[in-house]
Symmetry: C5
Subunit: 379 residues, 5 copies
C-alpha cells in the first residue's frame, strides 16, 4: 500500500514535469484559455518564458539602416507607418499589453491576436485587409535529450511594417540581420514581403539541420541495433518516432500555407517574392519527403530490432537444447546403473563400465553431429 | 455443462450492461426506431436519461437580458419570433411532444426532427428555408473508467431563435451564459448565428480538455510500459485506442460541417460570424491532428510493450539456460560416479574425488565465462 | 498415401460446400455465365433458390390499395402503365422468362437485365430514358454461424411502376407493406420514387441491426480475449473480419449510388424524395463509419489476443524457470554426495548431512527471494 | 568453400530460370531494348515464344463471314480498308516485319508500335487520328504451380479493321469467334469498336475465372491453416500474395483505360458501344474489389498462421513445463536419499521409504491439480 | 569506461563515413549552404567530386555535327546562340564560375542556378521566359554494396542550346551521343526539346536496369529466406528497403514533372516532343508500379523470414521437449531406486530390475507414440 502511495506521488510529480516539457505540452499547449472564455479575449496562454519583454527594431531602406532596442512598443509606431521597411521583433508574449497595443494601432483582428498569443497554433497564413498573418514553428533539437523543441513565431506583415512575436530569446534570424546590416543580396531594396520570406526561409533551412541531426541519430541507432539490440535502443526508436511527429506537425501545415502564398492567394505578396516563396515551398516538400523517409527507416529499424531479439532468443534456446539434449539421456543411464537392486547382472560384468562410457561417448557424438547438421552449433 | 450455463447467464448480463454503456451503445444507439417504421416518425430512440424535461429560456438584446425556466415550451414561442435573440435550451428528449411543438411552430422538417431525437447522429449541418440545424457531440471524460462519454447536442437556429436540445442535464455552456449575463465581448449585440458559434466554440474547447486528459493517460502509460509492462497496461492501451475512435467520430464530421458553414454555404450565417467559425474550424483541425498524433503514440506504446515483453521473456530464458547449462553436465558427472559397477577403477583412486571437484569447478567457471562474454549475465 | 487420398476427397467435398456458401460464392457468384457468351444474354447465373417464382402485386393510390399474387407477370402490365403506383415484387430469378417479359414490355436494356439476373453485382444506380435501375444488397446475419448472408435486390423504377427482383422468399419490406396498407405517413400519396426510397431505407435500417449483432459479438470476443485467449477466439476474430468485408462490399458502393440519387443526377427522382434520400445517404455513411470502427476494434482485439498469448507463454516459462533453477543446483549437490568414490571425507563427517540440508534450504530461499524481487512469482 | 562455389553455380542457374519465368520477368520483361536505343526503334523485346508467326483473318458483315489463315500480312490490307469489319489476329511478335508492315500501311505511330512489341506494357488506351490502340493483359492461371501467367494483347482498332497482336498461340476468344460464325446477338451488324469491346469483355470475364481459382486456393489455405499450420502453408500464402500483385498490375490500369473509353474520350467508339464498355468497366471494378478482398483475407490468413504457430509453441512449452515441474523436485528428493553420508538418520527409519513415496505422490498430484486449474493440461 | 570511450571514437569515425556515403548524405546533401545565407547565393553545396571541370560541346544540325572539349565555358556561347542545336555538357560543379557565366549569359534566374548547384534537389521542371530547367536524378547500382547511388543532373534548355550539369564524370548518355554522331532516327533534325527528351529517356531507361538488378537481389533473398533464414538476410532486406526509398524519391517527383511537360504546361516543348514525353511518362509510371510491387514483395519476404524464424524456434523447442519429457520421468525412477533407505522391499525382488527396465521402455515408447501423434517428431 505504501509503495502504491509513493507511486502515486511520483506519478503526480511526473505529471507536473510533463506539463512543462512533455508531449501534450508541446501538442496542445499547457495553459489553455479558460474554457468558454470570450473568443478574441486577449490572454497569453503559454508559460511565461522570459522575464521581460524585449522589443528590437530594425528600420531600413536601400540607403540606411537603424537598429535599436525599444523600451516600449509605442516608440515603433511612427516608424512603422513610414514607407521604408520597419521590422519589430518582440521576444516574450506574457505581457499582452504589447501585442494589444500593436493590434489597436494597426487594426489587427482580435482573432488573429488571440492566435498570436496562444503558442500552440498550427502553422497558417491568414490575410486581412491591411496586413497578413503568418504563424509558423521554430524548431530546435536538444542533442542531450534528443528532443525537438517547438516555439511559435508569428509574423504580422503590413505594407511598411513587420512585427514578429516569439516566446523566448534566441532565434535563427542572425544571418538575416547580418544581411540587412551589410545590405547583401539587395535585401534592403525590397519590401516587407521579401523580409517575411527571408525569415521563413531561415526557419525552413533550420529544419534541414534538425533533420540531419535526427537522421544521424537514426543511422547510429541502426548500427547499434545490428550490433547489440537492447531494450534501450527500442526506447530511443520510440522516442525519435514521437519527435518526428512533432516535426511533421510543424511542416505539413506550413507547406499548405506557403502554397497559398506562392500561388498569389495572399495579397501584399509581390510576384517576385512569390517566386522566392515557391523555392521555400519546394524546400518544405523536401523536408516532408525526407521526414517520411526517416519515419520509414525508423519503422524498418524497429523490425530489425524485433528480428534481432528473436534471433538472440533462438540462439539462447539452441544452447539450452543442445546441452540438455546431450546430457539428459546420459544422466539417465548414469542414474540407471546407480540403482541399488540386488539383481542387476550388468553391474558385475567386468567390461560393462568402459563399454558404457564408450556408448555414452558415441551417443553424445551422434547428437552433436545431428545438431551440427541442423546448423544449431553456431555458424 | 453447468459452468457453461453459468457462463451464458453472465454473457447475457454483460450484454445488458453493454447495451447501456458499451461501445455499440455509443456507436449506433441502443434503441433504434422500429425497423422500417415510417421515416419522419417522431419517436425518441435514446434511453430516457432525465426524469422531467427542463426548458430554460434566455432572451436578450444589447440592452437587456431575461433568463427563466419555462413550464411548457409554448411559452417561448411568442418571444422566439421577436427580433431580439431567444435561446431556448431543452434538457431531455424523451417527451417528444416538446420537440414536436417546436417543429410545428417553426416549420422544422420532420426528417430534421427525427435526427434531433435519435441521439447517435453524425455531426452535420443542414440548411432549411427558415433555419438551419447543427448536430454535434458534447464529449465528457470519466476519469475513473477512462471512458469518453458522448452526448448529442442539436441546435435549430432561426433568425431570432435558437433551440438547443440535449439528453441530460449538465453542459459546457455555463461560461457562455456568464458572458451573456454580463454582456462581455459584445456577444449580446450579435445575432443567433453568433450565439450558435459561441456554443460550438465552447464544445470544441472542451475537446481540448478531453484530449489533454487522454494525452496525460497515454504519457502515464508510456512510462508504465517502460518500467513494468504488464498485461493490464496492454488492456488500457487497447481501451484508450477504442476511446480515441469515439473522439474521432465526433470530430471528423464536425470539421466538415464547420467547413461548410465558414465558407458561406449555409445561409443565415453572417460574414463576420463566418470569420469566427473559421477559427473554430482551425481548432477542430488541431483536435484532429492531435488525436492522430495520440493514436500514433498509442501504437508506438503498444510496440514498446511488445518489445518489453519479449525482452523479459528473453531474460527469463537466459536465466534458465545459464543455470541448466551449468548444472546439467555437472550432474551428469556426479551421476556417473554414483553408478554401482563392480569394476570402476576411478572410484578407488585416492585423489579422484578432489580432482573431479576441481574439474567440475573449472567447467562451471568456463561456462560462466562464455555466458559473460555473450552478455547473457545481465547487463 | 491413403490418408492423402482421403484428404483429397475431403478437399473436394469441402470445395463443393464452399461453392454454395463460401466466401467466393458470396463474392463473385458461383455459376458465372459461360465465358465469352454474348453480352446481354439472358441467363440466370445464381443458384436456383426457390422452387417457383412468386409474383406479388400491390397497386395503390392515395384512396385505395389492391394486393394480390399473380399467376403470370403479364397480368401486371396493364396496371403498371396506369398512373397510380404499381409495385410488382418477384421472388426467384431462375425463370428468366419473367424478367425477359418485363424487359420487353417496358424497354429495359439488355445489359440492365443481365445485371438483374447475375446475383453478385455491386450496388449501383443506372438511369435509362424511361426508368432507372437500382441494385443493392439485402443482408442477413445468421446468429448460429455468425455469417452475413448477402442477397441481391434489383429495383426497376418507372414513372408508374416499380419492379423488385430478389432470389429468395423473405425480405425486410413487411413494415413498408404495412404502411402502404394503412396509408401511414402519406406514403400512398407519393410516387414510385418515394416507394423506392422506402424500400432502400428499410434495407439500410436492417444494416444497423446487423451491425449491432456483429458489434455485440465483437464485444463478447473482447471480453473472452481478456479472460482466456484461446485459438478458437482467434478464429472467430478472423471470421468476423471476413464477414465485415462482405458488409463493406454491400455498403460502400451503395453510398456512391445514393449520393448520385440525392444530388439529382438521376431523373425520375423528385426533389422532395431527394431530401429523403439524403437522409438514407447519411445513414449509409454512419453504417460505413461504424463498420470501420468495428474493424479497428477487431484489429485491436487481435493485438490483445497476441499479447495475451505471449503473456501466458511468459508465465509458463517463468514457472519452468523458477522450478528448474531452484532444483537443478540442489539435485546436483544431492548427486555429488551420491558418488561412490572411496575417498570422500565429507561423507564421514557427522553433521555433514544436516549442514548440507540447511545449505540447500538457504540456496533455495535465496533463489526464491531473487525471483520474488524480479517479480517472477506471480503478481 | 566448395559448398559455397556449388551454391553460387546454383544461384546462377536459378537466375537464368527466373529470367524466363520469375517475378521480374513478368514485371519488367527480360530483354529490354538496348539502353538508349533510338525511341521508336522497332525491336521485339520479349522472348520468342512461337516458331512461326500465324496470321488469321476474319472478314465479316451482317450477311457473310470469311475466315482464313494468311501466309503474309500484306494479303489482309486490301480487305482491311473495305467497309465490312476485318479482324486480323497475329500470334507471335518476334518477326517484327509483320508489325512494321501494318504500321506502314495504316499509319500507326512508331511509339505505338514500340509498345505493341515490348510485351510488358501497362494496360492503356491511346488514340491517334485514324485508329486507337488498346493494350491489355491476358491472364492465365497454372493450377500446378499456382502461378498467374500474363501475356500482352494489343489491339489496333481503325474504322474498318482491327489488328490484334499476341505472343503465343491460344487465347480466350474462341467464344467470340463462335458468335461471329453463327452471327449470334447481332455482333456481325456492328462495327470494329464493338468487336474490340467483345474481345476486352472476353478477357475481363476470364479474370473472374482466375479470381475464382485463386479464391478457392485461398479458402483451402485457410482451412489448412486451421488444421495444421506448417511453414509450407506460409510459403503458399506468400506466393499467392505475390501472384495477386500480378493480377492487380493487370487490372488497375485497365479500369482507367476503360473509364476513358466509356466516357467518350476516345473517338471511334460509338455511343452504344460506350454503354457496353461501361458494363465491362463495372466488371473491372468488381474484379478489383474482389481482389482487394482476397488480399485482406490472405493477410488475415497469415495472422491466423502466426497465431496458430505461437499457439503450438505454447502447447509445446506447457508440456515441457508440466513434465519438468512435476519430476524435477521429485528427482531431487530421490537424489537426496541416494547420498552416501554416514549419518543420515532418515535412511534407517522403517517407514521412511513408503512415507516418502506417498509424499512424492502428493506433491505430484498437487502440482497436477495446480496445472489443471491454470488450464495447462489441454483444453 | 575505456570501452565506452573507444566506442565513442568509433561512432565519430562512422559518422564521418556516413557524411559522405550514408543515407542522410544522399537524402539532404551533406554540406548545406550556410544557414540563412542569402537566397540565390551561388555556392556549390555538394562534395567536390572531380578534380577539374570538364566541358564538352556537341553542335549539330541535320547535315553536320561537331564535337569537342572546351577549355572555358565562354567558348560555347557564340555557338549556343546560333540556330542549330548546341549541347554543352559540364562534368563537375565545384567551380561555380562556370555555372555563373552560363547564368549571366543566358539570363538564368539566380534561384534556378542555386538549384543546379545544390545537388540534392527533388526532380522538377521549372519554366522561365527564355528557357526551362529540368532537374532529375541519375541512379547507379553498386553490385558489391547493393547500394543505389544518386547523382543530380540539371538541364537548362533554351531554343538553341542545352546545358547539362552533373557532378561526376560518367553518364548514361553514350548511346544518345552515338545516335547524334550517326544521325540515326532523325534525332539531328529535331530541336533542343527532343534532345532533352532523349537524355531523360536514357536516364529513365537506366532506372529499369537498376530495378532489374534490385529485383534479382530480392528474388535471391526470397530463396535464401526459404532455405536458411539468418539474421544476415534480414539485414539485407532492411538495406534493400532503404535503397528502394532512394529510388522512390528519384522517380515520384519526376513523374509529376514529366506530366507537366507532356501536357504542354511547359513552353518550348513542341507538340511532337510532347507525344514522346508521354511515352517516358508511361515508363516512369511503370517504374513506380514495379518499385511498389518490389516493396510489397520485400515486406512479404520479411514476414516469411519472421515465420521461418519462429518455425525454427518451434522445432528447437520440440526437440528439447521430446527429449526432456521422455528422459526426465525415467531419470526419476532411476533415482528412486538409487536411494539408500534400509527398507526398500522392491530392491530385493529378483525380477524387479528387468521389470523396471521393461516399464521404462514402455513409458518411453508411449511418450514417443504420443509425440508422433501430435506430429512433433519432424514431418
Amino acid at each position: 500500500m505504501a509503495a502504491r502511495r509513493r507511486g502515486r506521488a511520483q506519478v503526480r510529480a511526473r505529471r507536473a514535469a510533463r506539463a512543462a516539457h512533455g508531449l501534450m505540452g508541446r501538442l496542445v499547449g499547457r495553459v489553455l484559455k479558460a474554457p468558454g472564455s470570450m473568443p478574441g479575449t486577449l490572454e497569453h496562454t503559454g508559460e511565461k518564458k522570459v522575464e521581460k519583454v524585449r522589443i528590437r527594431l530594425i528600420d531600413y531602406d536601400a540607403e540606411s539602416i537603424e537598429e535599436r532596442t525599444l523600451a516600449s512598443i509605442e516608440e515603433s509606431f511612427a516608424l512603422a507607418d513610414d514607407p521604408p521597411v520597419t521590422w519589430v521583433n518582440i521576444d516574450g508574449l506574457h505581457d499582452i499589453s504589447v501585442a494589444e497595443a500593436v493590434a489597436d494601432r494597426f487594426g489587427v483582428h482580435r482573432l488573429a491576436l488571440e492566435d498570436v498569443l496562444s503558442p500552440t497554433q498550427r502553422p497558417k497564413v491568414e490575410e486581412y485587409p491591411d496586413h497578413f498573418l503568418v504563424i509558423l514553428r521554430m524548431l530546435t533539437f536538444d542533442e542531450e535529450t534528443e528532443t525537438i523543441g517547438s516555439e511559435q513565431l508569428s509574423l504580422i506583415v503590413g505594407a511598411t511594417y513587420l512585427f514578429s512575436f516569439q516566446e523566448r530569446f534566441g532565434d535563427v534570424f542572425e544571418p538575416v540581420r547580418e544581411r540587412l546590416r551589410h545590405s547583401r543580396g539587395r535585401i534592403r531594396s525590397r519590401g516587407t514581403d521579401y523580409l517575411a520570406y527571408a525569415l521563413i526561409d531561415a526557419i525552413v533551412d533550420h529544419y534541414f539541420r534538425i533533420m540531419e541531426d535526427v537522421g544521424d541519430r537514426i543511422e547510429e541507432l541502426e548500427e547499434t541495433v545490428l550490433r547489440e539490440p537492447s531494450l534501450d535502443v527500442m526506447h530511443r526508436i520510440h522516442h525519435l518516432r514521437r519527435e518526428m511527429l512533432i516535426l511533421r506537425r510543424a511542416v505539413w501545415p506550413l507547406r499548405e500555407a506557403l502554397g497559398r502564398m506562392y500561388r498569389g492567394e495572399v495579397p501584399h505578396v509581390t510576384e517576385e517574392t512569390q517566386m522566392y516563396l515557391r523555392d521555400v515551398y519546394d524546400h518544405t516538400v523536401q523536408v516532408i519527403d525526407t521526414s517520411e523517409t526517416l519515419r520509414e527507416v525508423l519503422t524498418g529499424t524497429m523490425d530489425l530490432y524485433m528480428s534481432g531479439v528473436s534471433n538472440r532468443m533462438n540462439e539462447v534456446m539452441k544452447v539450452l537444447t543442445v546441452i540438455a539434449t546431450i546430457f539428459i539421456p546420459l544422466s539417465f543411464f548414469a542414474g540407471l546403473y546407480g540403482m541399488n537392486f540386488d539383481y542387476m547382472p550388468e553391474l558385475h560384468v567386468h567390461w560393462a563400465y568402459p563399454t558404457l562410457l564408450v556408448g555414452m561417448g558415441a551417443l553424445a557424438l551422434g547428437m552433436i553431429f545431428t545438431f551440427w547438421r541442423k546448423g544449431w552449433l553456431g555458424r
